[in-house]
Amino acid sequence: MKYIDEYRDGGLAQALARTIAAEADPARTYHLMEFCGGHTHAISRYGLEDILPANVRMVHGPGCPVCVLPVGRIDAAIYLARQPGVILCTYGDMLRVPGSKRLSLLKAKAEGCDIRMVYSTMDALKLAQDNPDRQVVFFAIGFETTTPPTAVALKQAQALNLKNFFVFCNHVLTPSAIAQILDSPEVRVLGTVKLDGFIGPAHVSTIIGSAPYEYFAEEYQRPVVIAGFEPLDVLQAVLMLVRQVNQGRFEVENEFARAVTRDGNSKAKALVAEVFELRKSFEWRGLGRVPYSGLRIKAEFARFDAERHWDVPQDSPPDNKACECGAILRGVKKPTDCKLFGTVCTPENPMGSCMVSAEGACAAHWTYGRFRDIKAAPDSKVDP
């Protein structure tokens, strides 16, 4: 517990904020994107924007695994849940993400599909062992952090020779998504989105290391600072980015050295490489099809692959027209730019994925920050 409080010391935070204000050049604005939903959540949860100087602005990135999954993949999961004999299991947040035709896994569950919430891949594996006459599909999502546990589950299923365990694989890769954002016309050509630097992922980097960011720091000439999820980590990373920008550097620096090395966790990487291979491209909400950004199950484990076992639809239906999640995930818009924010769309009744997970930009702003834009708050909370 001491360990946590060390990174949440209010006095230290104020001191860091003062240093940032002193070093930030008042003649310019710093646009810093935090890639990860974990950072987005920390920034909102601790109100860090309030203590940063006005010319240091945080831009929320697409690093929320629930948010980036496109409608088509939710529809596919619902399709799987509707197959006779199937138990679909997944992490809690996925249940509420809207698919097309106003459906969600939660509604499919209410219609009678057997959909269960699990806390880990091991729960899913156990479910398969306990229900030999059913087919258990694990709806696997997430970035590099959640991929190794799925790999372990697949290897175990093989060792146990399970005939009724399947994985619907939606694992995605961080570096290709960052490159896609930097390649987008808004950043490259139009200059409508200014990005002066990145706060790099915490947990993801413990697996992949800091080396994968070196390529685009160099290629796109943007500094990257890998940071932990504690509020002081975030502030320290902001200071390091401000310094790099001031000095015209664009290097990969590691604020999170207590957990991240240059090469990452080679054991976990080897495990993932044994079970998964790159897809040619994978669709992301907001980013479209991104080349080599997703993983699929290798042929050797094909019999556990839900996409091979069932004829899973590969359509890509559009998002709700009014929902701005796509633009928000690219850093082009803010939650308050969406007409539905706080009126039709709230965490109780999400219209887009960014309002579902606590790491989503819309949910974080609604839950923690909406007092700043009173206008957007509905009057429902006023004395009835």
């Binding site: 949440r8 935070a13 729960d123 920050g369 009057d379 004395d383």
Partner: protein, 354 residues
């Protein structure tokens, strides 16, 4: 006066027996269960009369302009036993507290049991004994009750509903709509203990803690507070949804904003650590032995002193103030120095714990 116990050929086999449908059927088996388990444990005059209702005298406060209060609550927790309590003690404490939060003196309770076929008699006895104990300690008897048995698969072990009545002393008017801008917001102790203690017992979460539930009857604490300051504006126990949800309820009911200071909110380090592991915010975790008190600023010091002098209020703290705000936002100055909304709990964040 105690009537002689009716005799049954063989006593209940508490150690190995299980509830079956006959225990709810109204016949001899049910009568034996009631006699040997419930009446034996609760043992009070009203219950010993063996009527379908309890009769009692009008409490003396009523003759001086006091008011009666009544409340009811269902307990459907899982697991049934947790560090620091069980569903039985919780069913007493929770309802006693709901009565007390009106500033009232609790008088008596009723208890309804819905038990699933196959439930072990040994567990039932443990629960009933714990309930009887809690009621005796609180000085609030269970004066009437009911038992039903449902088929296997139609319940989750045991559900308990308790109803409580009490009397509010004359001149006391505690209500959720009485918070005013400028009022002080006090809590009686550390937040989140109960929820974390219960969750630590859920096997799928696989961690062990030394955290005990704070489950306790708060009426004596409330009596001390009301005696010192009859004009308390709001009392409420932050159970399901924790401090955050309860303050949001009060803010809306009273039409005020509430501004908290994170560094003043007492949370045990172990609870903080466990919440970190589970990805929870202690402000949203349930309490079963804590209260929130909102009062005029000039009464805050007196009430804090009274609370801290009582064993159940030792860690009492001033955590915020009510402010003018037509949006009824609950906000918090974070330990980092920033501000944030402390929102209602969205959806069901937690398993059933109260």
């Amino acid at each position: 006066m105690t009537l002689p116990r009716r005799t049954h050929p063989r006593p209940l086999d508490i150690a190995n027996g299980r509830i079956d449908l006959t225990h709810g059927g109204g016949g001899r088996a049910m009568q034996q269960l009631v006699e040997e388990l419930f009446v034996a444990a609760f043992d009070n005059d009203a219950l010993n009369q063996r009527n379908d209702q309890a009769a009692f005298d009008v409490p003396p406060e009523m003759l001086r302009g006091g008011r009666m209060v009544m409340t009811t609550d269902g307990y459907v927790i899982s697991p049934l036993f947790f560090p620091g309590g069980d569903i039985g003690s919780l069913a007493v404490h929770g309802t006693v507290n709901d009565v007390a939060m009106a500033g009232a003196r609790p008088l008596s309770l009723s208890a309804g049991f819905i038990i699933e076929e196959g439930f072990p008699l040994s567990d039932l006895k443990r629960i009933v004994d714990s309930m009887a104990n809690a009621s005796r300690e609180a000085g609030v008897p269970v004066v009437t009750g009911d038992t039903k048995v449902v088929e296997k698969g139609k319940g989750d072990g045991i559900f308990i509903t308790t109803t409580g009545i009490g009397v509010v002393p004359p001149g006391v008017n505690v209500s959720g709509d009485r918070a005013r801008a400028g009022d002080a917001v006090l809590v009686s102790g550390t937040m989140g203990d109960h929820g974390v203690a219960v969750m630590s017992q859920r096997e799928s979460l696989g961690f062990d803690t030394a955290i005990l539930s704070d489950s306790a009857a708060l009426h004596t604490l409330v009596a001390d507070m009301v005696a010192a300051t009859p004009d308390i504006h709001v009392l409420r126990d932050p159970t399901r949804g924790g401090l955050a949800s309860t303050l949001n309820e009060i803010a809306v009911q009273s039409g005020v904003g509430i501004a908290l200071r994170e560094s003043d909110i007492p949370v045990r380090p172990e609870v903080k650590g466990a919440c970190e592991l589970l990805g929870l915010d202690p402000l949203y975790v349930a309490n079963e032995g804590k209260l929130i008190c909102i009062c005029a600023p000039e009464h805050a010091d007196t009430l804090l002193a009274v609370m801290r002098a009582h064993p159940l209020g030792r860690d009492a703290a001033l955590v915020g103030t009510c402010v003018e705000d037509s949006h009824a936002f609950v906000t918090m100055r974070t330990a980092m120095g920033g501000n944030r909304v402390v929102d209602w709990l969205a959806g069901e964040q937690l398993p059933r714990i109260c």
